[in-house]
Structure formats: structure tokens, C-alpha cells
Symmetry: C2
DNA sequence: TCAAAAGTGTTGTCCGTACACCCATGA
DNA sequence: TCATGGGTGTACGGACAACACTTTTGA
């Protein structure tokens, strides 16, 4: 290898698609931009990646600066590089996605950079116009979580730690956008043996309170080396 | 939007992981590099993406220049951006993969750029040392095609147009790295009803000649909107 | 006592798996 | 006639899908 080769750096951005679940619907976390291009538009949390940070680190930093969220594990989704996607030139973006427990965060979102005015959850079914190609990125993310959720229990990441079977079913119904049979759903979920039944019940409802469950990650890891199928 | 923003361009590379199947084993297409860094090493076909071409177009061009292969449909795999992956600085690479009919090409590979000395198929199980993080990229690609092949009939892309059921089974065995039951495999494949039985038979074998089949893409598209499962 | 959601079983069908022998062909 | 791979069927168990009523609770 030679040492007198020119030094180069990749210029590119990273974007975050963060999903949450509340009130029976899927939501995505958007920021209101305070900088050109697309000043005052809504868009995904995203920014330029520094030369000395990995892409995985960069999305974490960007998400923290844009929303105040910390320690979120994101997975890479896809890299978008359409010639027209960015008005300042062909800048590619590496998109990441994550699913998280919305109720633990609520609207306690605090941007710490001047690039962002505020961060807010938006229902997937009623998104505003978005900056860049962010609409497209979000659509690709949904396809991804649909595929993903069929093979691994990531849906639990969207629920509170303690949840009822009905909440779990509603979540799957929201992701698949179709109704599921209550008895079959419960039978199947319980058969996997990855839920721990708690002694507690739901509180504050004006009807029969449902049992609460927890996702039992230890059991899950023990039992399933390979794959599950949650899609039917 | 403002027009006096600085103009920027992403600098990055794209790499191609091309799989083929012959003699009962999976192969990957490598090039011998004729340029620094990693001059004289084997690596994946890959190079810098131009500012005015999409990433999808770039991998096609690069593959053509490096190997002479034309019209290959590749899908994006993942974007690699480790700080140490490239000796000239942190240069990210967008990796693509494809599977193709090796016997239609054979060793008729003709690089048309001085950056490459030659292109050659290498068995996946006996790879030489590779430039950059290309070993890692290939490993990720295999995981990807294993997942992919369970849900869609892309395995046919690796076989000749006309093939025997045994060849098809050997291909799945190579991808999954495990033996399958002949009767069950045939039953399952034929039940999907995506194969067209031909009137022809295998030639040039010193034992009973097997029937030849074709993948029937029309039937496939008609019957299956969603998914198949070829993995068991 | 009413409204609302929780909770619960059976049956038929399909799919996957395990398993062993005869057949056709060319050398 | 032999060696080689081609080609075939059955029986069991597990998973999925369809389907409706009773129970519990708070208001």
C-alpha cells in the first residue's frame, strides 16, 4: 500500500425514523426545521455525519441533539441518493430507524440545537408535507418494520413495559393495518411462551380490568435461536 | 428555501457482491486490483460514485467497467462506514448485491479499466484475503440472501434457464448449508406451481436423465402477491 | 342493570417432516 | 449387469383459521 495517496472524506447525512405507538396508532417523530433548506418545514431528525464518528454513533448524536432522546438503539434502513433529493447538491443520506416506548417519553422532547425548533410525534396516517425525500424514507421504514415484525418480537419495543394482550393485539393491527381474531391471537402469543403473566391488573378503566403481561426477553433468547412468525 | 447555500457533493464509493452457482457451490465475483490502495489484492468490484449519477446507476457502470457484465439488476445491501475501513480517510461505501446465471458468463469476464487486472469467480468457502472490509461485506451479503431466499424465488436467478430439480435442490442446500430431503423438497417446490415442466431431458449424463424445468415468472406473479417460504 | 371489554375451545384443513424402495440409463 | 442418480407415497403431528358466548367490572 502507498502512503502518498490523497486524503478523502465522505460528506453525507444520516436521518432517523423513530416510531412510537399510542392511542391505538403508530406515530413518527418529526422535527420542525429552523434552518435552510426547508426552514419551517417538518422533517426527520437528521444532519451531517462528522469525519471522525461512525454512522451508528452519528445517528445517536443527531437524535439526541434534535430531540433530547438518549440511548436509543437504531438500525440502518437504506441509503438514499437521488440526484434531486437535496437542494444543495447530490448529498446522500443513510437512514436509520427505531421503535420505542412512547409513553415513557411523551412530549418531553427537548432539542438542544438551533437547527431545530421543536420535536413532535405525528400519526403516520396524517403526516404534514415533509422536507427532502423524507416521506419516501418513512414509507420504506414502514415496509421494513412490517417485514421485521414477522420474524422477531420487536413490536414489544413499542409498548409499555407492562401491557395487556389487547394492547399488544392493537399494536399488531396498527402495523399490519388489518383486524386480527382475538382468540387466535392470544393462543398464538401465549404459545410462544415469551410473555410473563403478572399478578397485576389494568387500572382506571370502567370495565373489567385486563391482566398485565411483560415481554420475557430471557425466555425469548433461550427458546428461539432463529425465527418466529407474527404475521398471520 | 434559499439559493445562496453552499453547494455540496457526497464523496463515497459503491461495491458489488455478485453471486454465482456452479459445481454445486456458491461463488462470488472478485477483481484483482491494479491500483493503490491494496494494489494486487483481491477485492469486490467497486469505485467512486460520480456526482451526477444515482447510486443504482453507479454500481451498474462500475460492474461493467470492472468485469464487462452488463444489465445486471442489483439491490442495495447496506452502507459501511467504519472509520478504519479505507486507508485514505473515512470513505463510506454503499454495497449492492446480485445473483446471476454463472454458466451464461463463465470466465468471459473483461475489465475495461486500468484499475482492474482481471475478474474471476471464487468459491465462497475459499476466499483469498480481501481489500478493505470486503470480507465483512460478503458475509453480510450471504446473510441477506439467506433471508431473502426464504421469502421470494430469487434462487432461480442463479440457475440456468432450464434446470433439473436436483440442481435446484443443490442450490438451496448450498445457500442453507444443509441437506434437504429429496421427496419433500420436490413436493414443496411443485406444489407452489411456479415451475414449468419441459418436454426436454438432461443430456450428456451417464445415468438416467432428469426432466428439465423452467421458472415460470408469469405464474409466480399471478399466484403470489405476498410471500413464500423456501427455508424448511 | 347496563355497557364495555375480558376471557375462553373446538373443529377442519393444510403444511411440514420422516422415511425406503424401484426405475431408467449409459458405460 | 452394474453404478448412478431419478423419481415416487404415506402417515403423523403441529399450526392456522373460522367461529360466539359467558364473565367481570365500574358507572
Amino acid at each position: 500500500m502507498q502512503s502518498n495517496l490523497p486524503h478523502l472524506q465522505s460528506i453525507f447525512t444520516a436521518d432517523c425514523v423513530i416510531f412510537g405507538f399510542s392511542e391505538g396508532e403508530l406515530k413518527v417523530l418529526l422535527i420542525e426545521r429552523n434552518e435552510y433548506p426547508f426552514k419551517e418545514w417538518w422533517g426527520l431528525p437528521g444532519f451531517f455525519v462528522e469525519h471522525n464518528e461512525t454512522i451508528d454513533d452519528a445517528v445517536k448524536r443527531i437524535l439526541l441533539e434534535h430531540t433530547g432522546l438518549k440511548g436509543i438503539y437504531m438500525e440502518q434502513l437504506y441509503t438514499f441518493g437521488d440526484l434531486q433529493r437535496h437542494p444543495q447538491g447530490r448529498i446522500i443520506t443513510v437512514a436509520y430507524y427505531a421503535m420505542l416506548r412512547l409513553e415513557a417519553i411523551g412530549n418531553n422532547l427537548k432539542p438542544s440545537t438551533d437547527y431545530v425548533r421543536k420535536a413532535q410525534w405525528h400519526p403516520l396516517n396524517h403526516l404534514p408535507d415533509l422536507a427532502f425525500d423524507h416521506k419516501n424514507i418513512i414509507e420504506k421504514s414502514i415496509e421494513k418494520i412490517r417485514r421485521k415484525v414477522s420474524h422477531s418480537p420487536i413490536a414489544f419495543e413499542l409498548l409499555p413495559e407492562k401491557f395487556t394482550l389487547t394492547q399488544l393485539q392493537q399494536l399488531y393491527e396498527a402495523i399490519w393495518d388489518k383486524k386480527l381474531d382475538k382468540r387466535n391471537f392470544r393462543k398464538k402469543m401465549l404459545k410462544y411462551n415469551i410473555l410473563k403473566e403478572l399478578d397485576e391488573k389494568q387500572k382506571g378503566v370502567s370495565y373489567r380490568a385486563a391482566k398485565l403481561y411483560k415481554f420475557d426477553k430471557r425466555k425469548y433468547n433461550k427458546i428461539f435461536k432463529n425465527e418466529l412468525n407474527f404475521s398471520k
